[in-house]
Amino acid sequence: METHNQPDPSADALVITDLHVAVDGNEILKGVNLTVRKGEVHAIMGPNGSGKSTLVNALMGHPRYEVTSGTATFKGENVLDLPADSRAHLGLFLAFQYPSAIPGVSVANFLRTALVSLHRERRKISDAELLSGDAPNAADTAATAAVQAGATAKVPAIKEFRKNLREALALLKMDESFATRYVNDGFSGGEKKRLEILQMAVLKPQLAMLDEPDSGLDIDAVRVVAEGVNAVRGPNIGLLIITHYQRILNYTKPDFVHILVDGRIVQSGGPELALKLEKKGYEWLRDELGLPIEVLAGESEVAHERA
């Protein structure tokens, strides 16, 4: 068995252990183990239907995705017991592959409402931690302090909010008129993807999952999205990028690449793994690792490189 994916004591990581998820009674994830720490960028690749979207939707708490066993903790808290909004308050974020349109609700109104909610709830969380003296350990003090600093800060004033929004729009090469358009209503595919990244830039999560942020985009749009991701990237955020293709990874270099096949991570590596996959295709996986894939995953002969 793998040993490096044991629950991570550092409270600022997302730690997924033996996660099984079913959709409409069909098991899609069959035991996923993964740890994403602050400052790390992970990419998950895999063929269609392998369970990539299921993983991030289950982690964000979509009610259609039923967790049948396993755990997922973030900052030490079992997120699988929480409704989606509480997961967001903890710092999780999902950039949707197919974001919903909310007709009649402007982007600015939506983001402002979300920010107010996040600030209010994150403040409650940090207050509770302070009161209970529940800071997990000394190593985490810095992280806790950072959270508290963010949490106890006042909700940005309207003026500051508008400035942040304008900057985020500029970053993603979106016209300022986007702020007054209704959320995703009549947006092109590329506009939807950019709005997802814009939300990430404005809401400042601590662990962001990006579900195929590049799908359906031409190369220029991929670059814009990747630049947005790079602007958000930093020591205080963990990123988990789901992608079918290597090309976005040319602009956003991941620290780790994982290959998901039939509900399990069958191989993990550094950025070279994505290049190899791109060059040789998914057949290479089967040839190199042998068939059937279920056996391979069970044998767990997959090398996991860890920094």
Partner: protein, 471 residues
């Protein structure tokens, strides 16, 4: 604010000079009322004839849907046990009434028994605008009233209309002379008290050629508002409001009529509204239906001559055990007329809504453009709705379309918003607010939009199945 004249205390302002206890519905009551108001013979006869019609008609039965699977239940309304107020019985005015806070050109405040106060800006009165309660108008402008009263809506339309014809004691008479454009809205505020009983108001709007006017009517009650718990098992003093509205638009005139119905949970309300629209005239209707135990509303727009136009924008939002029952008719008689109706409704808890919209085009109605749509959003799987748009087209050169959508609130939308940190109720507030926004955007009065927005937000926030009486 200039132009704002708060109504004086209730005790000072029974315009008709009488106060009386409510009376049972009877021929004697009709005679007594007519005597009390010193009415001319034609009106007395008209009232008595209406009473005979009332006695001859059954309670209406409004059925809906395939196989008439649902009938709007008004069995609790036992008219023989109810009493009618025939003089003002003022006891309550909502301090937050929209109409008293708005800048306006005139305001008439009424209780269940009739008018309490009346105001019209002097310059408009000097230009010949009449804006007064209907009984006063009969005294001061008898022949003019006679020309219009119950002409568009015959008293035999249904039992409530007949009762209204017999015993009306409130309502507004609004007359705008040729070429006069009233700049600010005129307001009517009707509030009924705790005591139940029957309130009967008849309103007439006459727009002479080239005139323009906007009337905003707000309806409230002391027993709560559109946010109060509504539960059919709670037995409060039942109140009935019957409203008859007749609008007469002559050539090139423009009338906008807004109604904000924010009744309490004890009120059964029955409205008959009709506009006769003349050549190149424009009738705009705006509905904000939020309150009441049962709200039945019939709106009939008669596009009688060439180039007549009508637009309707309406929202309804029901909760608890509320029942909203809407029927609209766009009747194209003239050629080159335009109709455009858009309703949006949301339903919570175990509430019900029925919508029946008809576009009828006569053989004379060539080059008609007419549209009708109704969109319903469910916030609960206990709620029920039936939406029936219909077309009857007898002309051969027209463009008509109708449509209806009904759906549950989209869980993917809710998840999307919750994933950004919004609680479920906050998510629903945004989604429902957005759902209504398209209609609100097209309502011409920003202050009314804002009022309805707030009410919608508060209504989403009500506790689930707020069925326990808090009165």
């Amino acid at each position: 604010m200039s132009g704002l004249n708060p109504a004086p205390p209730a005790t000072q302002m029974a315009l008709n000079g009488h106060r009386s206890d409510p009376v049972a519905i009877s021929r004697a009551a009709v005679e007594a009322l007519s005597t009390q108001l010193q009415e001319p013979a034609w009106l007395r006869e008209q009232r008595l004839a209406a009473f005979a019609t009332y006695e001859s008609l059954p309670l209406p039965k409004w059925s809906r849907g395939i196989g008439q699977w649902w009938t709007t239940d008004i069995s609790a309304v036992k008219l023989e046990n109810l009493q009618v107020y025939t003089a003002p019985a003022a006891d309550h005015q909502p301090p937050d009434a929209f109409s008293t806070q708005e800048e306006h050109a005139g305001l008439i405040v009424s209780s269940q028994g009739g008018p309490l106060s009346s105001h019209l800006r002097a310059d408009l009165a000097a230009r010949g605008v009449i804006f007064t309660d209907l009984a006063t108008a009969v005294r001061e402008h008898g022949p003019l009233v006679q020309k219009y009263l119950s002409q568009a809506i015959p008293v035999n339309a249904d039992k409530f209309t007949a009762l209204n014809g017999a015993l009306w004691n409130g309502g507004i008479f609004l007359y705008v002379p040729r070429g006069v454009a009233v700049d600010l809205p005129l307001h009517g505020l009707t509030t009924i008290g705790h005591t139940g009983g029957v309130t009967l108001h008849h309103t007439i709007i006459v727009a002479e050629p080239g005139s323009e006017v906007r009337l905003v009517e707000e309806f409230r009650s002391a027993g709560g508002d559109g946010l109060s718990p509504v539960d059919k098992t709670v037995q409060g003093p039942l109140a009935v409001y019957s409203g008859v509205l007749e609008v007469y638009l002559t050539a090139d005139s423009k009338v906008e009529y807004f109604t904000i119905e924010n009744w309490g949970p004890e009120v059964y309300t029955f409205n008959q509204r009709r506009a006769n629209v003349g050549k190149n005239a424009r009738m705009h209707w705006v509905f904000g239906l939020l309150g009441g135990r049962v709200n039945r509303s019939h709106v009939d727009t008669e596009l009688l001559q060439s180039g007549a136009e009508t637009q309707t924008r309406g929202i309804y939002f029901s909760h608890g055990d509320q029942v909203f029952d809407l029927a609209t008719l766009t009747h194209h008689v003239g050629d080159h007329c335009t109709g455009d109706i858009l309703f949006k409704g949301a339903l919570r808890d175990a509430s019900r809504a029925g919508f029946e919209g008809m576009i009828r085009v006569e053989p004379t109605g060539q080059q008609t453009n007419s549209y009708l749509s109704d969109h319903i959003l469910f916030l609960s799987d206990q709620a029920k709705a039936d939406s029936v748009p219909g077309l009857e087209i007898l002309a051969n050169d027209v463009r008509c379309s109708h449509g209806a959508t009904i759906g549950m609130i989209d869980e993917d939308q809710v998840f999307y918003l919750m994933s950004r940190g919004l609680a479920r109720v906050e998510s629903e507030k945004l989604i429902v607010g957005g759902f209504f926004e398209q209609v609100l955007q097209e309502m011409p009065l920003e202050s009314m939009r804002e009022l309805v927005r707030q009410q919608i937000q508060q209504k989403v926030e009500l506790p689930q199945r707020a069925l326990v009486a808090a009165r």
